[in-house]
Symmetry: C2
Subunit: 442 residues, 2 copies
C-alpha cells in the first residue's frame, strides 16, 4: 500500500467526506458487512502480522496486560466481526429529525443530525479498538485519521489493508480512512485543528490528559475517575456492602471503579466491621481516616488518598456526619465521573441526584454500570468527562453534529419585520418521519 | 462595589454554581423579575453612566455605528426589561429528561439536562447584550464571567451594580456574576481553561477568530458568514429575485446576509438583467464573472471576491452549468454558515439540503432567516459555526450539558456478567414527566 503525502491524503479524505456523509445507510451497511467478511477472509495474514508484533513486544519485555490487549486471535476476530455486524444493524444516525417547527403556514424548519466531519483517534496497542472505531465512523458518515499504539504496527497495517481492500468494491472508496504510524504523528495530529474536528484519545489517564492539554481540537475522553459511594444513614446495609464490593472489585483498573467510600456516622458501627471483612475476602486494602480506624483496623488514609484514583484493590474510607458533608466531599475531591448514593430515603436520593455535578449520578447500584453497552447506547464511542458536546458514556450520537433545514415558498425577512410584520407561528411538530432532505437513495 | 482578587471571586463563583444549578425555576424566575424591576428603578443612574460613556466615545471620535450600539436609553431599557421578562416565562431548561431507558425491571436510566458551569462572555460596547446574556445564564443555572467593551465601562458597571443589588434579596446571591473591565482581562480569560467551561465572544469576525485561535476553552461563536444562494434552472425567477434582494439588503452587515449568487446558465439570460435592475434600485453593486458580464454590465469579480464576506451592499455573481458545479463552488468557497437553493424541483432541493454541509441549508426563502428568534428558539445565545456541541442559531439549549441518573435496587455488574449473566432489557421509555431527581423545591 502506498500513501501520498499527508496533506494530499487529507484533501482526499475531506472530499471523501462529502460522499460518505450523503451516502445511503444501505451503502454504508453493505460496506460494513464486506469489511467483516474481508477480515475473516484475511485472518491468516492478520494473525501472522499480530504474531510478529507479539514476538517483538515479548522481546522488548512488555508486560502481560499489554500483551493481552495486543493479541489478535480467533476470539478477538470473532468479537470484532460480531461488533461490526451489530453496528450495521443499528438505526442510521444520519438525517434523523431532532426538532421540527412550523415558522408559519408552509414554512417548515427542521434540525437534522449530520456527521461531524473528521474524527482523530489515538489509541493504545489494541487492534480490536481500531476495527471498532473504524466501523463506528463509517456507520456515522465521518472520516477518520487513526494513530495506533506502536507495538501493534504490523497488525494495524494488516487490518487497514484488509479494510481498504473491502472498500474497493464500494462506491464509498477508502479515502475516508487514514492510518498514521510514527510517534511523531501524535503531535502532528494534536496540531491539526483545521483538519480534525474531534479527537478521541484512548489510553492511560496521563495520556488523555496530555492530549487535552496540548491541542485546540475538541477532545472526547475521560481523564480521572475518582468515583465515590456515599452510604447514607438510611441505607440498606446489605445492599451497601454488595454494591461497594462490586464497584471496587469487578474491574479495579476501570475508570468507573470505586475509589472513595463515604460512610454516614450513624451506620459506621454497623457497617464498617462487615465492610472490612468483605473487602479483605476480596483482597481489597482499606485506608481509613482517624474515625474509621476507631471501628476497624486498617491503613491510614491521608488527604491525598481522597484525591487518588487507585485503579487497584485499594479503597479510601471516610466517616461523614451528614448528607451535606458527603456531597461537599465529592464536590471538593471527586472528578465528576461517577458517584453513587446508597439510601432507602427517597428524599435524600433525589437531593443527591440533583446536587452532585457528575457525568453519572447513581442511586442504589454499582458505579461500574457507567458504560455505553450497559446503558444501552448500542455502541460505545467513549466516555466523556467534559461537559461540552457529550458527557458520560457516549454512543454514536457523540459522532454527530446537526444541520438546520428550512423550506419556504419565497418568504423574506422584510415581510416579518417592521410595523406591519407578519407574525411567526412557531408551532412545534412531532419529529418522526422523513426529513425535508428526503431519503438518501444514491 | 468592592471586588476581591479574581481568584477569590472565581472560587466564590464555583461555589455559587452549586446553589444556582440546583435551585428551583421559581427562585431563578423571581430573581429575573427583580432584576428587570431593579433596572427600571435605577434608570436615572444607568442613563447618567451611559451619557458619560457616550460623551467620552464622542470625544474619542468614535463612529455612529459604535455610538448607536453604545447608547442605553428608555427604548433600550424597555427592550432589555421585556427580554428579561420573556426569559422568565420560558420553560425551565434544567433537569429536563432527554432519554429514559429501563436497563432491567426496576432499573431505570435517565439522561437529564444540567447547566455547563461557568460561561465566559466577551462582547463589544453593547450594554443591552450584557443584560441579555446575564438573564440567559441565570435562567439556565450557569455562572458567568463578563468582559464588556471598554467604551461601555461606566454603563456596564452601573448595570452590574443594579443587578447585584437585586440579587441581595434572593437566596442565589450575586457571586455567580463577575464583571471584568480591563483589556488585559480578555487574554486572562482566554487562558482560564480550568475555570471557564464555554466562551461566547461577540464582535467582529476578526475578533471572534482571534478568540478561537488563542484559547483552549471551547468557543461558541461564528467567524465568517460567506453565504451563497443557488438559483437553479427550475427556479421560480420572481421568487429568486425577491429572496436574493431580501438576503442581500435586509441587513447587509449581518453574518447571514448574502454574499455570493450562483445562477444556472439556463436561466441567466432571463434572470440577470432583472437582477441587475432590482439590485441597482437597492444600491447594491454587483461583481460578475466573465460569463455574467456577457449578460449585464457590472464590475469584474475576481476569485478573491468569491471568498469574501463583503458585509456591505456588494454581491458576487457567478454562472454555473450544473447543480454539481453549484454545490462544488459552495464546498470550496463557502464558510458553512447559511446557503440556500431556489428551485421548484423537489429532487434538486432535497439533494441540496443533503449535500451542503452548512449550519443552515435553506430552500426557497431568504438567508436572513438563520436567527434564533426567527427559528423560534425563545432566546438566542449566539450562532455557532462550529460542529461540536451546537451548530447554527443556538438557544438556551446551548448553555446546557447533561447528567446520567440511574436508580437501582442493589444491582451489581457481576450479576450481568459471565456465563450466567442476567440480560439487559434496554427498553426505551417516553421522556415526559418528572425526572428521578424529583422537583427542585428549595
Amino acid at each position: 500500500m502506498e500513501y501520498g503525502t499527508l496533506v494530499e491524503d487529507i484533501a482526499r479524505l475531506r472530499k471523501s467526506f462529502r460522499t460518505l456523509s450523503t451516502s445511503s445507510a444501505a451503502i454504508r451497511n453493505a460496506l460494513l458487512l464486506r469489511i467483516a467478511q474481508g477480515l475473516e477472509n484475511d485472518k491468516a495474514t492478520l494473525f501472522e502480522a499480530n504474531q510478529a508484533d507479539m514476538r517483538a513486544a515479548q522481546e522488548a519485555g512488555e508486560k502481560t496486560p499489554l500483551l493481552k490487549r495486543l493479541k489478535f486471535d480467533e476470539d478477538k476476530l470473532a468479537g470484532v466481526c460480531e461488533g461490526i455486524r451489530q453496528v450495521s444493524r443499528l438505526a442510521d444516525p444520519i438525517n434523523a429529525v431532532t426538532q421540527r417547527r412550523l415558522l408559519d403556514n408552509g414554512f417548515l424548519l427542521e434540525q437534522v443530525t449530520f456527521p461531524i466531519g473528521v474524527i482523530g483517534m489515538i489509541f493504545e496497542a489494541r487492534p480490536d479498538a481500531l476495527v471498532q472505531i473504524v466501523s463506528l465512523c463509517l456507520k456515522s458518515g465521518n472520516g477518520i485519521i487513526l494513530k495506533g499504539g506502536k507495538e501493534a504496527v504490523l497488525t494495524n497495517r494488516a487490518l487497514v489493508a484488509s479494510i481498504r481492500t473491502s472498500c474497493e468494491g464500494s462506491p464509498l472508496g477508502s479515502d475516508w480512512l487514514i492510518l498514521l504510524e510514527s510517534h511523531d504523528d501524535v503531535n502532528a495530529m494534536l496540531a491539526m485543528d483545521k483538519d480534525i474536528d474531534l479527537l478521541i484519545p484512548r489510553g492511560t489517564n496521563a495520556f488523555v490528559r496530555y492530549v487535552m492539554d496540548h491541542t485546540k481540537i475538541p477532545v472526547l475522553g475521560h481523564a480521572d475517575g475518582i468515583c465515590a459511594m456515599y452510604i447514607d444513614k438510611s441505607a440498606d446495609l446489605d445492599m451497601a456492602l454488595k454494591c461497594a464490593v462490586d464497584s471496587k472489585i469487578q474491574y479495579p483498573a476501570a475508570c468507573n471503579a470505586l475509589e472513595t467510600l463515604l460512610v454516614h456516622a450513624d451506620v459506621a458501627q454497623a457497617l464498617l466491621p462487615k465492610l472490612a471483612q468483605a473487602m479483605a475476602e476480596n483482597g481489597v486494602v482499606l485506608k481509613g481516616d482517624e474515625r474509621v480506624r476507631g471501628y476497624i483496623d486498617c491503613e491510614v488514609a491521608t488527604e491525598d488518598d481522597f484525591h487518588t484514583e487507585f485503579l487497584s484493590l485499594t479503597l479510601a474510607v471516610k466517616i461523614v456526619d451528614s448528607y451535606g458533608a458527603a456531597v461537599d466531599h465529592i464536590a471538593a475531591h471527586g472528578s465528576h465521573h461517577t458517584d453513587c448514593v446508597i439510601t432507602e430515603d427517597v428524599h435524600t436520593a433525589q437531593r443527591f441526584l440533583r446536587d452532585v455535578d457528575s457525568a453519572d449520578v447513581f442511586w442504589n447500584c454499582s458505579t461500574r454500570f457507567s458504560d455505553g453497552f450497559r446503558f444501552g447506547l448500542g455502541a460505545e464511542v467513549g466516555i466523556s468527562t467534559g461537559k461540552i458536546h457529550a458527557r458520560g458514556p457516549v454512543g454514536l450520537a457523540g459522532l454527530m453534529s446537526s444541520k438546520w433545514l428550512l423550506r419556504g415558498h419565497g418568504e423574506t425577512v422584510a415581510e416579518y419585520s417592521g410595523p406591519h410584520a407578519k407574525k411567526y407561528l412557531h408551532e412545534e411538530l412531532s419529529t418522526g418521519g422523513v426529513s425535508l432532505a428526503g431519503v438518501f437513495e444514491e
